[in-house]
Symmetry: C2
Subunit: 412 residues, 2 copies
């Protein structure tokens, strides 16, 4: 094998900047909800580039776009890709870089090494971000994993109030064919993604091999007290759910902080009733997002949080209840694939670290039906889910070289 994989930086930059025009938002952002005209235009562009690269293009029942490079030996597929739907607004790199990297990798391998021994595919999944449907997160990869219940077509509702089945029909997709999108012939899934955090930048390293994806849980907490006049009710006679929420949030953040990396806990959402300056609230609803990639430490984090939620509510005479959302167990990467991509990075002289993913990805779903590994490339200032997110072409090329070298090891 030739040691050095050559990737054309001008091609990578052109792909990124061209795709950024579909749903462009302000100077550097994109606004690309699934099944919107901007999203279809981006998917069409991916399909065109796949055809130009000599891949066989296929669109499945939910709108995922596939490009296939048939292997001489046939057999199960080695797949790489991500998504092009965005946060509203989001940036140019989240998801997009994974799709474009897979496309560049297959195009490069075909050009430089000809037909592979094993079949390679690139995929651009739909609706990774809950861009239009809060309950449709990972819609495309869920369809491929066969994990969409038929009821979801009616029960998954857009932010505008439309059922996803109806939205699909309106754009010419047949929701009754969703089961056709299921695949049982995928051996390996590799997702390249921006890091979305600051660790690579801190250490001056372009690439990480991801040893696993963290476990996540969302607590949607209702804390009910008693609305009172903010002047006339003495402090010692209050049942103040805001004071309770503030204590719970402070303590939960402190618990994760003291447990140390990679434990994290976040309150990102709060709604107050009635939300008036002079009224002690009646009810406060808020979220606690808590993550740990180690199964035992994760359970310990959740046990500490839940015991504290109950203790604070009880001591303050508040009624507390919660529901769970976004529940995902930790997903370790396939150890052999981790080793293989570490070796590929070493061969390509690309500096790398091995780290956990604190974010959830399509890779979570694909891990249900295939062996999985991820690659990260450096994010400027650790930003993502914002027009401010940025990854340099130089770092992107380093990541694509590792991806391509690994795919070559697997498929040639």
């Amino acid at each position: 094998m030739t040691n050095e994989i050559r990737i054309d930086p001008a091609l990578v930059e052109n792909y990124i900047m061209t795709l950024a025009q579909y749903g462009a938002h302000g100077e550097t952002g994109v606004w690309r909800p699934v099944y919107s005209p901007a999203w279809f235009a981006a998917q069409d562009q991916i399909a065109t580039w796949c055809e130009d690269a000599g891949l066989m293009v296929h669109r499945d029942a939910v709108g995922n776009v596939w490009g296939r490079l048939e292997g001489a030996e046939g057999g199960k597929t080695i797949l790489s890709g991500s998504h092009v739907d965005s946060q509203l607004p989001g940036g140019r790199y989240d998801g997009v870089l994974g799709v474009l990297s897979a496309l560049v990798a297959l195009k490069t391998l075909k050009e430089q090494f000809g037909a592979p021994r094993r079949t390679l595919e690139v995929v651009s999944f739909c609706e990774e971000e809950s861009s239009r449907f809060s309950q449709a997160r990972h819609w495309g990869s869920r369809a491929v994993a066969g994990a969409i219940e038929p009821e979801a077509l009616e029960s998954v509702i857009s932010y505008d109030g439309e059922p996803i089945g109806q939205v699909m029909r309106d754009v010419g997709l047949d929701p009754d064919r969703i089961a056709d999108a299921k695949r049982d012939d995928i051996d390996i899934f590799i997702e390249l993604h921006i890091e979305q955090g600051p660790l690579l930048e801190e250490q001056g390293i372009p690439v990480a091999v991801v040893s696993g994806i963290t476990g996540i849980r969302h607590y949607h907490i209702d804390l009910q007290g008693r609305a009172d006049h903010a002047g006339a009710r003495p402090m010692d006679l209050r049942r103040d759910p805001m004071a309770g929420a503030a204590e719970i949030i402070s303590t939960a953040v402190e618990t994760a902080h003291r447990m140390g990396r990679p434990a994290v806990t976040t309150c990102g959402m709060m709604h107050v009733e009635p939300n008036a300056a002079s009224i002690v609230p009646e009810k406060v609803r808020f979220t606690i997002d808590a993550r740990h990639p180690n199964p035992d430490q994760r359970e310990l984090l959740y046990a500490r949080h839940e015991a504290m939620f109950k203790e604070v509510a009880s001591r303050r005479d508040l009624e507390i209840s919660w529901t769970l959302g976004a529940e995902q167990p930790p997903r370790p990467s396939d150890p052999e694939l981790v080793s293989l991509f570490q070796q590929a990075a070493t061969d390509q002289n690309v500096p790398f670290i091995t780290m956990q993913s604190g974010a959830v990805h399509d890779a979570n779903r694909m891990a249900d039906i295939s062996r999985m590994v991820m690659l990260f490339v450096q994010s400027k200032d650790g930003r993502s889910h914002t027009p401010a997110e940025f990854t340099s072409v130089e770092h992107a090329v380093e990541g694509i070289r590792v991806l391509t070298a690994g795919l070559r090891r697997l498929a040639y």
Copy 2:
């Protein structure tokens, strides 16, 4: 003087229940924004009852309704009243009971004792509650105190986006005549009000003489950090404004609690940006309402709060700024009037306590141009600003007896 003042409970109950029909909301609530048809109907009913009681009725430039019982000696007025606009929704008693009590008192005095020596008046002020305009709080009493700047007609905007000057014109009032509502001939203002807190009920006492009204300040705080991915950004590298807000709210509540009654501090309002479960917020805006009736203790409370706001923001690397709202210094009642109403309650064999008001009232504005005192009657469960607020006819009658006895001492 006859010792015992007789008040007709059936009259009081009829007045309360009749007025509750204007803008009735659900079983026990009212929805009566200023200058609405329901509010005008309530004001018309007050005017009719004043006429029926033999009072001279007058409506001023802002829509306050006045009823006058001329004193034989002339001279400055002894005034009592409150307001009939409501929270949305509010209850049947807040404000209303003060207007009806003044009406019943003047009617009773006239019937039982004839014409007074000094002039007595009843008033039903408009827009005490910010029922329709957030910046028009105490609009009626501000007009009487001469405290409305002409610019307010354009700058005070309703929750529907209409300037108050335009709304006044639309209902047939002439905003250019606001200055005519100013009075400089009011010697004494007495406002009877529901307590809105639990202290009278706790002690089983129907009535309080109010020795002063608390000082109030609203802090509108902006806490700015950096939005980050809730999974990918380690705890130790965050600039999380929600964690900062939670610490500030917890500490401010604790500071007031430890300072002891009557210090109070409340966070009743919060807005989070972008308010998503998986995103460390970029910005948290929230209010801190802090009150103390003692000027020195009030300044101490504010100094402790402000030093803590700054310390928390600095330690957490957050940008903090705040504006002040609802700024009202403490308003001590006139000591001679406090003594006189304490004596009136004693004479009437009405059990009473002397306490501070934790809420702000039209009496704050009237204290700028007259001697002021307030009376409280018991609130069930200390509730107010809700359809659940309730005061028994029995307790209302006890309060009206004290009011009437005090007015008799002052005017006969």
